[in-house]
């Protein structure tokens, strides 16, 4: 076992800078309790709104909504601007999803230094961009969703862009097979503050510890009845054994600014109607 001693001798200096665990055992236990509660809340929330999850074989990422559906553990809904309800949904098509993907690519909204990792089931195909739209449900009350994990040296976050018709949420039900991705808000985030910037609704939830934005969501209500919503959140949700599971945040704040998201939703080409 000379090699053991040699390697230990070699590696030991690397541990000199170790200041010990940042959290006490009691704090770890509290985190475990919170994670367990959050996991349960996600499942409860999912069941309560009849979430239809496209499972497939790939990882699925949930969209953190601004809080029309809040988790049981953090039920503090923000005030959402109600979109007009007189817009008639039309059928979703793969062709229009491709058009929206092209519009997104042309908008060139991802800042340099951020990589994208596909999260939707068909995003692993080489010809499909990681951040691409796919239709959900039969009509545009379900809408089109694009979702990807954005990665930089600081960690990971989830970016979603949602284009749908301005249809009342209660028309979008499990029975109509219109999926609503409704992940619970992360326990480390406070209540969203909602403001209006340039006619766009901006919701920001800050991390309890750092005070930095852990979730930024912007929603534009366009005159033609399209709702465009872009959300970035430090949490990444993965599907584990059929259950959406929020992984611990890997970064202190989101990698995109409010302004960048506002610019994104105001780019031309995002229309619910094919």
């Amino acid at each position: 076992m000379n090699d053991v001693n040699e390697v230990r001798g070699m590696l030991a200096p690397a541990l000199e800078g170790d200041t010990g665990p940042r959290h006490s055992p009691e704090e770890v236990l509290r985190s475990a309790h919170r994670a367990t509660a959050r996991r349960r809340a996600v499942v409860v929330a999912a069941l309560s709104v009849g979430v239809v999850l496209a499972t497939g074989t790939s990882v699925l990422v949930g969209v953190t909504t601004s809080s029309t559906v809040a988790s049981a553990s953090s039920a503090a809904p923000t005030t959402a601007v109600q979109p007009p309800t007189d817009v008639r949904p039309v059928r979703t098509t793969l062709g229009h999803a491709d058009e929206l993907t092209a519009a997104l690519a042309a908008a060139d909204v991802i800042p340099d230094g951020l990589d994208l990792v596909a999260t939707l089931p068909d995003g692993t195909a080489p010809e499909v961009p990681p951040l691409h739209f796919r239709p959900f449900g039969e009509d545009t009350s379900g809408g089109y969703l694009a979702s990807a994990v954005v990665v930089d040296a600081k960690g990971r976050a989830t970016l979603t862009v949602y284009v749908r018709s301005a249809t009342a949420p209660d028309k979008c039900t499990a029975e109509s097979r219109c999926p609503i991705f409704a992940a619970a808000r992360a326990a480390n985030l406070g209540q969203s503050t909602v403001t209006s910037v340039d006619g766009v609704e901006v919701a920001v939830a800050r991390d309890h510890g750092t005070g930095l934005p852990g979730m930024v969501s912007v929603t534009a209500h366009l005159p033609d009845g399209t709702v465009v919503k872009a959300t970035v959140v430090t949490e990444v949700t993965v599907l584990s054994q059929g259950v959406p599971y929020p992984e611990p945040a890997t970064r202190d704040s989101v990698p995109l600014t409010e302004r960048q998201l506002i610019d994104l939703v105001k780019k031309p080409g995002f229309r619910y109607r094919p």
């Binding site: 076992m1 090699d3 053991v4 001693n5 040699e6 390697v7 230990r8 001798g9 070699m10 590696l11 030991a12 200096p13 690397a14 541990l15 000199e16 800078g17 170790d18 010990g20 665990p21 940042r22 959290h23 055992p25 009691e26 770890v28 236990l29 985190s31 475990a32 994670a35 367990t36 996991r39 990882v59 230094g113 990589d115 994208l116 990792v117 994990v149 990665v151 930089d152 040296a153 990971r156 992984e247 611990p248 890997t250």
Partner: protein
Amino acid sequence: MKDKDAEFVEFVRAKHGHVRRTAFLLCADWHLAEDLAQATLLKLYRSWSRVRRADSVDAYWRTVLVRTVIDHRRPLKSSERPVAEPPDLPAVEVEHGHGVDVQRALATLPPGQRAAVVLRYWEDLSVTQVATLLKCSEGTVKSQCAKGLAALRRALNGNLDKGGVAT
């Protein structure tokens, strides 16, 4: 339920440092190691009844940790960007001494070699145990260990000669 919490706290008190140090050796980044250790502990809490029943609790947490490290790496692998070394690194090196050299040498090892070396020599597991943990053949473990060890020796040879840290 209380028993579970009490047992878990006791486990964390006893093992958190070890889990964290092993995580660091596997990923060569203290901040990431902290997160990976925390994620590992949360997973253990979730399946505490299985931890209790395990033949070896140490083997159980090592398995969970290694999988957590691998799972963390997997989605990032194709998209990770090389990060340029900060220009003031020499100053940091002076401040922290030989440990930084070792950390950098460790970081240069491919993940497979690093995992094999850490598990085989730092954790003192058998070749069979490492192969099981990494889900590869014993031959692969042996070759990864040999290559990793040789790379570490090469990287640290000059410093060891100068500093006399190693045995």
